[in-house]
């Protein structure tokens, strides 16, 4: 037991060290270009982190992997196009309305499609989420068409220069929103009784039921939070990625990889997994042909599943006596 713990620590420590070496090497070899890659990687990584948290919140409450998670981000992006770029609403108002609409969709889907499945196996529910993803994608295609849309950046202005690297102002919006979202999620799960009840249910479902935590309420709240996180992520990244009806699939898969890499169900794991994935992706895109970029997420996913299936910061399932 002690030996295995030590092995695990060496494994995670080794991975962290290798990652640091890669960062330093990139900075040394490429200088400001390397810094540019890392900063862009952190921008997109923050988005993966938020999507990964959406996966984690639903997974830890219900053990379901929600394959429609990326679709929440896609909807946020295209709604922002209609509300702000086309509808000329102020950005802040467009943001709030878009988040509210997607959150309502998330909560509504939980009630009409997930809750009726409560007596079915987890795998059946996961298949339902795949169906939901396809339905959302098809609806978006019908409303917004197949062409990517260009969403106005939150603030105008040129690129900001930091130590020779250039960052679009939108990157700072991304960092800011991601940080606020992470703090809000943390406060919810650690400071409110509803959030603590959901954590208790993830730790010990029977004992949580016996104090009155209702699995149905937990599931609804989890979907609501996941939809809010996903849509906020999709909205702030929209000016950078040109969202379209199909952009949710890739965002979802990246977020899922980030969640697994960090440890499904672990919020800090989701943040670490997202940032690591984002940075590795942009470095790869810099040194290898761009086409390999999207493969990184899957390589990382396979590697983690083979070597440390509980993820970097996740814990192996406790054996209950």
């Amino acid at each position: 037991m002690v030996g295995r713990d030590a092995d695990n620590r060496i494994l995670v420590g080794g991975a962290a060290a290798a990652f640091c070496v890669l960062i330093v090497a990139t900075l040394v070899v490429k200088g400001s270009t390397g810094l540019q890659w890392i900063m862009s990687g952190m921008t997109v990584g923050s988005i993966y982190a938020l999507i990964a948290m959406g996966f984690s919140v639903i997974y830890s409450s219900t053990h379901v992997i929600n394959f429609a998670q990326g679709e929440f981000s896609m909807l946020g992006g295209v709604l922002m196009f209609s509300l702000v770029t086309r509808g000329h609403l102020p950005t802040w108002l467009g943001f709030i309305i878009a988040v509210l609409i997607v959150t309502a969709i998330g909560a509504g889907l939980e009630r009409v499609a997930i809750r009726p499945m409560r007596n079915h196996s987890v795998i059946s529910v996961i298949i339902v989420t795949i169906g939901l993803a396809i339905a959302l994608r098809a609806t978006a295609k019908w409303i917004w068409g197949t062409d990517p849309v260009r969403v106005t950046a939150f603030s105008s202005g040129t690129r900001v220069k930091i130590l020779g690297a250039y960052l679009p102002p939108q990157s700072f919006w991304v960092f800011g929103f991601a940080a606020v979202a992470v703090v809000l999620v943390f406060l919810f799960f650690n400071r409110t009784l509803l959030g603590k009840g959901m954590r208790a249910a993830a730790m010990n479902p029977d004992a949580a039921s016996l104090v009155g935590v209702s699995s149905s309420t937990s599931s609804l709240v989890a979907w609501t939070i996941a939809a809010a996180l996903g849509s906020a992520a999709g909205i702030v990244i929209a000016p950078i990625i040109l969202p379209s009806f199909s952009s949710g699939a890739m965002l979802g898969l990246k977020g899922f990889s980030a969640a697994v890499v960090g440890g499904l169900g672990s919020a800090p794991g989701a943040v670490v997994g997202g940032l690591v994935l984002g940075v590795l992706e942009t470095i790869t895109a810099g040194v290898l042909p761009t086409g390999y970029k999207d493969a990184i997420a899957f390589l990382l996913l396979i590697l983690v599943l083979l070597v440390r299936p509980q993820g970097l910061l996740g814990r192996a399932e406790d054996v209950k006596v």
Binding site: L193, L194, K196, G197, R199, A200, M203, N204, D206, A207, A208, S209, L210, V211, G212, V213, S214, S216, V321
Partner: protein, 235 residues
């Protein structure tokens, strides 16, 4: 107060309870004793809604609560101390108690604090350890926390599943003294216990379960004198 009528519960195709009929009278301590696997735990879990009954009824205060969601049953006034304590190990003692009052979170703020006081008076060690993580408590302290957490929902009927399990005799004595104190305050208690001696000495009325059925019932004092009970369970 609680009436269980011809209750049958299955795990898949395996029948764990066979037409079990018991009563828990208001203000009394009722105990269910029996060997491992006799169905005692299944009976409690079916009353509290964790397991679903296939046949039979659970009537609580003239209300049919059979197969209701566990959270609704807690709302109705029944609270269970689960087997093996099942405290939330990564949370503090204080958080565990706060979660005990989960169903009352939208009202009764003041009463919740009163109940917390009451729990701390029953188990002063919990107040000393209020900010300690529950997983680091000793077995006895965890059992006290599990009882305290169950009391925080302000139940009228308390279900206990093997509170003596894995504890030293001294600790068991102190837990049972607390149960008697709660009984004095008017709480109705349904106690499942493998330690037949202490259970029957504490209770007013008792049932003996064997292979999913009620084999014997009677006043606790009479059961203590019963030859069969003496031979098999008190030996």
């Amino acid at each position: 107060m609680l009436r269980v009528d011809k209750l049958s519960t299955f795990y898949g195709n395996i029948q764990a309870l066979r037409d079990v009929t018991i009563r828990a009278r208001r203000g009394q301590i009722t105990t269910i004793i029996g060997a491992n696997g006799a169905g005692k735990t299944t009976l409690l879990r079916t009353v509290s809604g964790l397991n679903k009954a296939r046949h039979g009824l659970v009537i609580y205060e003239d209300r049919d609560i059979t197969n209701m969601q566990p959270s609704r049953i807690v709302h109705a006034g029944i609270s269970q101390v689960p087997q093996g304590r099942q405290v939330f190990g990564e949370m503090t003692v204080g958080e565990n108690l706060a979660l005990g009052a989960y169903v009352r979170r939208f009202r009764e703020r003041g009463e919740i604090e009163d109940d917390r006081r009451m729990v701390y008076e029953l188990f002063p060690v919990l107040e000393e350890r209020a900010s300690q993580v529950a997983g680091t408590l000793s077995g006895g302290e965890q059992q006290m926390l599990a009882v305290g957490r169950a009391l925080m929902s302000h139940p009228r009927l308390l279900l206990l599943d093997e509170p003596s399990m894995g504890l030293a005799p001294k600790v068991i004595q102190s837990i049972f003294r607390t149960l008697l104190a709660l009984h004095e305050q008017g709480l109705t208690i349904l106690l499942v216990e493998q330690d037949a001696k202490i259970a029957l000495e504490t209770a007013d009325y008792g049932y003996v379960m064997r292979t999913g059925k009620v084999a014997l019932e009677g006043e606790a004092g009479e059961l203590l004198e019963n030859e069969e009970v003496k031979r098999i369970y008190l030996g």
